[in-house]
């Protein structure tokens, strides 16, 4: 019985993520309307047969924009978080494992990154490179490094003194081997949570960058920006808020469910089920 529900929830995670991917690919090849076609006369139309998710403040078809924007939102979210996580985990491992001056240096660099206002960094990027997807991805990735670094480093500090790590060391295992074989697997739980938390943050952060003129340039849509553009019209046209909000939530929930199953799966193994 228990196993059955778990299977269910695992398939839900897969279904959701699969749906998101299919949706993104669909948006690449087909949208019911031109996502950027402005038609002021048709603005704020509620959902209907022709516009299943209604139209926005410029009369653009919301469904088409959601489809078209999926590419940007998911690509930016996933790419930025993976890059940030990769860098953060690597640095965190080094900081926690080697300790001493290494720890001090890496932690202080991470503090510096946290303290520098993100607007300042965003404006700097915009001034140096022309705005676009790469700037957004790198910008958000950079912002994600400190959280991953800290989560990793603190866990490593705790794990590296445990008996099995000491045992491995006594058996003559090298640093790299200990880190990859014995420490990294034990970080999984915390890192998965951090991943899912960061993903939602990244999809929303992209919108803030666009507003500063640093992000994806209009008229191309992203879910985050659709949500921000809808700010004044929430009471007039609720679908403008609900549609992108729902898709962001679905993406986040889908990836979270996948991650959850890893954790639950580990528990199940431990219990010998």
């Amino acid at each position: 019985m228990k196993v059955k529900t778990t299977m269910n929830s695992r398939s839900w995670g897969r279904i959701l993520v699969g749906f998101m991917l299919a949706f993104t690919i669909l948006g690449w090849v087909y949208t019911p309307h031109d996502p950027n076609q402005i038609s002021i006369a048709k603005r704020f139309q509620p959902p209907s047969g022709e516009h299943p998710l209604g139209t926005d403040h410029f009369g653009r078809d919301v469904l088409s924009r959601i489809l078209w924007g999926a590419r940007i939102s998911l690509a930016v979210g996933v790419a930025a978080v993976c890059l940030g996580a990769a860098a953060g985990v690597a640095l965190g491992l080094a900081a926690g494992f080697f300790g001493g001056w290494w720890d001090e240096l890496l932690m202080r660099l991470s503090t510096s990154l946290q303290a520098l206002p993100s607007i300042l960094l965003a404006l700097l990027f915009a001034a140096i490179w022309s705005p676009g997807v790469p700037v957004v991805v790198w910008g958000i990735a950079l912002g994600n490094i400190p959280s991953f670094l800290r989560v990793t480093r603190n866990q490593v500090l705790s794990i590296k003194q445990r008996p099995y790590v000491e045992a491995a060391r006594a058996l003559g295992a090298g640093d790299l081997r200990i880190m990859l074989r014995h420490i990294l697997p034990n970080l999984r739980g915390a890192l998965l949570v951090q991943l899912s938390v960061s993903l939602a943050g990244a999809i929303l952060a992209e919108a803030s960058l666009s507003y500063l003129g640093v992000g994806i340039q209009p008229p191309d849509p992203s879910w985050g920006r659709m949500l921000r553009e809808a700010q004044p019209y929430g009471s007039l046209a609720p679908w403008l808020v609900l549609a992108p909000g729902l898709f962001i939530a679905l993406a986040v929930i889908g990836f979270n469910l996948l991650g959850d199953n890893w954790i639950l799966g580990r528990e199940r193994v431990a219990k010998g089920e």
Binding site: G100, E104, A127, V151, G189, V193, E267
Partner: protein, 306 residues
């Protein structure tokens, strides 16, 4: 321990200087200088030149930085260009507010996350747990802006129970705190849940359970202590982020916090103000980091500072 503290102090100084210089450098590189921004679309070249002279923007960059740094260390923080007020006064008004709000928000988030996270870990497959899990996931995807607006709409406009904004009396901090705490609570409870699930699967917990130790003792003495590392680290990161202000929540609730100061400062290239704010934020985060690391050692004796 002594060596450790020395190293920490060295790191402190280096970080503060690094961030300070980076801020200065970035503000120099950004297009649009403060004199231009003060004059807007009505400026003439004469006025522009006069203003640059007055702000000593016509002097070379490095000596200007050196001079600023010396004065700053000496306690002379100068006047903000954007607000025509002493930087010290601006900062001493904004920081207590942001610091208080950060404490309140992270405190409320942690307080609520504890029972929620524990429940989700102990009854991972129950209906309530799944509902809570879904709720926390939704909490992550909701933009703070919408949460804030909806709370104002409900509590200030419809029910007329709470003020819609401002920093007048403690009641006016309820809604901002709630807005900030909700997504953070979601994050912390998820970390706690993951940590607890892992800890419960560990050998020593299973051993303790098998030995027949009371459930409560197993939970709180053994499992929670090990599970707390993840959520505590996350709470630390959250607190550091909140120190630099939360622009969206400050804007929605009209709070004169650090975020507003920083945003306006950066947009106006207000060097004295931005420099002072960023430097203070760094120092606070560093102090907080130190305290945090020491607490970590208390919580988990296995962590050693050599």
């Amino acid at each position: 321990m002594k060596r450790y503290l020395w190293r920490r102090a060295g790191g402190f100084l280096l970080t503060a200087l690094l961030v300070n210089f980076a801020t200065f450098f970035i503000l120099q590189v950004l297009p649009g200088d403060p004199a231009l921004l003060m004059l807007g679309t009505e400026g003439s070249p004469e006025a522009y030149a006069a203003l640059r002279r007055e702000l000593s923007l016509d002097k070379p960059v490095l000596p200007r930085y050196g001079q600023w740094l010396l004065r700053f260390i000496g306690g002379q923080w100068g006047n903000s260009w954007r607000y025509s007020l002493p930087v010290r006064e601006l900062v001493s008004r904004a920081f207590p507010l942001s610091l208080g709000l950060a404490l309140l928000a992270v405190g409320a988030a942690a307080g609520a996350a504890l029972p929620v996270g524990l429940y989700m870990a102990l009854r991972p497959r129950s209906f309530g747990s799944r509902l809570l899990s879904l709720g926390t996931q939704l909490g992550l995807g909701l933009p703070q802006f919408w949460v804030g607006i909806l709370l104002i709409q409900l509590f200030a406009v419809q029910l007329r129970l709470l003020p819609p904004g401002g920093a007048e009396g403690w009641v006016s901090f309820l809604l901002p705190t709630l807005t900030l705490a909700l997504p953070r609570m979601a994050v912390l409870s998820r970390f706690l849940r993951a940590g607890m699930l892992e800890a419960l699967a560990e050998d020593y917990v299973r051993t303790a359970r098998a030995k027949g130790l009371p459930q409560g003792s197993v939970l709180f003495k053994h499992a929670l202590r090990n599970a707390a590392l993840g959520p505590l680290t996350a709470a630390g990161v959250q607190f550091a982020q909140l120190l630099a202000g939360t622009i969206v929540v400050e804007q929605v609730f009209g709070l004169p916090g650090v975020g507003q100061l920083l945003l306006n400062g950066v947009f106006q290239r207000d060097l004295p103000l931005v420099q002072a704010v960023v430097t203070l934020v760094v120092l606070l985060i560093l102090l907080f980091d130190l305290a945090f690391d020491l607490c970590l050692g208390l919580l988990d004796p296995r962590i050693r500072y050599e």
